[in-house]
């Protein structure tokens, strides 16, 4: 189970003074939204079929997210304390190294990260491990050494596929209702194993040259207090014959 301690998109995001990094002081970090669903799915599979849920996180400060997964019910955590920046290839490579020696039936990851939005780490790892895989999964059913999945396609269509185990799936949000963390869960998480695995950072494949605000045309903003804004809004709707 791969998880990311990701920056929230809700807060104001400031660009660093070098123009090629993010000012982390303004950022709030949390478990990546897609990964919440993936952890829940992993826990449900374990509850139905037995086994162990191991969460793996890459990042120097990813402990809170790993602890959260343990509090949700994961059995143990592996932390890879390196900063892979904006290079998902390095993240996947680090995970590959970190889980060497681990036996697994299924690897789950979220479809994408909420901050960098690449949708890469899961499938990169599948390729590095030569695993069968499926992405954007909206249903997972374990059947006798196989897994039957639904995948989300464009325009509301879905596709049903069957994969052998072991394999790797990336989980789409909305697949389940992730559980809340209980006080008991938090207490229990304190006694669970969170192991650090050191790996060496690979050669970068993507180097950040510049981070900037997108050059977009802006909407005409309606200003003033609420009554004034609503009056303008009504005028716009009237002029378009909508009321």
């Amino acid at each position: 189970m791969l998880v990311k301690h990701a920056a929230s998109t809700e807060a104001e995001i400031r660009i660093g003074t070098d123009g090629k990094s993010l000012d982390t002081r303004g950022l709030e970090f949390e478990i990546n939204d897609w990964d919440r669903y993936a952890v829940e799915e992993a826990l449900r599979i374990k509850e139905a079929h037995g086994g162990e849920v191991v969460v793996v996180g890459v990042g120097i400060d990813c402990d809170p997210t790993l602890r959260k997964c343990l509090a949700m019910g994961a059995d143990r955590a592996i932390k890879v304390p390196i900063d892979t920046g904006m290079d998902p290839y390095l993240t996947a490579k680090a995970i590959k190294e970190a889980i060497k020696g681990e036996k697994f039936d299924l690897i789950l990851a979220g479809v994408m990260s909420q901050d960098l939005n690449y949708s890469l780490v899961g499938v990169l790892l599948a390729a590095m491990l030569d695993l069968p895989f499926a992405t954007a999964v909206t249903s997972v059913k374990i059947e006798d050494g196989k897994v039957r999945v639904l995948r989300e396609l464009e325009g509301g269509y879905q596709e049903e596929d069957v994969l052998p185990l072991p394999c790797l799936l990336t989980v789409q949000s909305g697949i389940n209702e992730p559980r809340y963390v209980s006080i008991m869960g938090i207490k229990r998480a304190r006694t669970k194993e969170l192991r650090e695995v050191k790996v060496t950072l690979g050669e970068p494949t993507l180097v950040v040259e510049r981070i900037y605000h997108p050059p977009i045309k802006k909407a005409e903003m309606l200003e003033g207090d609420a009554p004034k804004i609503v009056d303008q809004l009504i005028e716009i709707l009237k002029s378009r014959g909508l009321i």
Binding site: L153, V207, K217, K218
Partner: protein
């Protein structure tokens, strides 16, 4: 540069992203070539369409390739690329492309970047531009390892020259049976309301906060003679049924009025509503990307604006 574009089709139709990839390929190839790859069964017709915009079209045809299967597609692509070596491989940022690109990158010993909206090639150095934080910021990335595989956002490279190259029929066949087996397609659920037919849509996003607040949007929609729709987080939370989802994995809508309440404006949503006649967005975050697509924006709390708007509309209606 030798630039390859992997064409995409489903249900017997070529996805227009295939041409957009070729337009991009033609603009960055320099003294090199733009080369399409079409994989499937009976795809000669597609090859004839593609070749109008490509220097070469490589056709890989087999019965087993009728429906997309990542294991077989990757297998045949690697056979082709072993002989015809790419510098850049372009793929649509689609449900297929997001599977093929990373896997190919690893097997080609190259690099990969996704959801790319700009590519710059100078002196054999490749730089790509993409959004991060769901549209709030952009980043330029230098690719340090070729070949690079890029997934390209739909709708960006719409125009390009005619090239009229040649079609090459390969005898490449899958060398293995797939690990993953395709079972069937499942059609979209049909609900009681077809939002794609509505003149007025009141759409809610994460900012609506809670299921109990949906009724606020419903009241407004009723007064305006419209329907309520939602973005992905609202559907994921079960606050609205799946058939009310606007966006790439839901429906594409073009109403006369699209009122976006508490929607941040991720690309996956915007692609489904950007062609609406009039878009008005309410979001308390003045940096929300939705204001990049809206005609009018209100950077306020929707819970201040919407109740007041409902009250005024009721007064007008008497």
């Amino acid at each position: 540069m030798r630039v390859f574009a992997i064409a995409e089709h489903r249900f017997g139709e070529l996805n227009s992203i295939s041409f957009e990839l070729l337009h991009l390929a033609n603009s960055i190839k320099g003294s090199g070539t733009s080369e399409a790859v079409i994989i499937g069964r009976d795809v000669a017709g597609f090859a004839r369409e593609l070749v109008r915009h490509a220097d070469k079209v490589w056709v890989i045809s087999d019965e087993s390739l009728e429906n997309y299967n990542p294991d077989l597609y990757i297998d045949v692509l690697l056979q082709l690329f072993r002989i015809e070596t790419p510098d850049i491989v372009l793929i649509g940022h689609t449900s297929q492309g997001c599977e093929l690109a990373p896997y190919l990158a690893v097997k080609l010993g190259g690099s990969v970047a996704t959801d790319v909206v700009g590519v710059n090639v100078s002196n054999d150095a490749v730089t790509v531009s993409r959004y991060i934080f769901q549209g709030k910021l952009m980043v330029d990335l230098k690719i340090t390892k070729l070949p690079c595989v890029l997934t390209i956002r739909q709708g960006v490279f719409k125009e390009g020259p005619e090239v009229n190259g040649e079609v090459i029929n390969t005898d490449i066949k899958p060398s293995r049976s797939p690990a993953r087996s395709f079972v069937k397609f499942i059609k979209p659920e049909v609900g009681e309301v077809d939002i794609s037919q509505a003149d007025v849509i009141v759409a809610v996003g994460r900012g609506i906060g809670d299921a109990s607040n949906i009724k606020l949007a419903e009241e407004l929609a009723q007064i305006l003679g419209g329907v309520v729709a939602g973005s992905r987080p609202v559907i994921d939370s079960g606050w609205l049924p799946k058939d009310r989802q606007v966006g790439i994995s839901g429906k594409t809508v073009k109403p006369k009025l699209y009122l976006a309440l508490g929607i941040s404006g991720a690309f996956q949503h915007v692609i489904g509503m950007k062609d609406s006649d009039l878009i008005i967005a309410v979001n308390k975050d003045p940096e929300a990307p939705i204001f990049g697509v809206a005609h009018y924006g209100i950077a306020s709390d929707l819970f201040e604006i919407v109740p007041l708007l409902i009250k005024k509309l009721k007064e007008i209606r008497g």
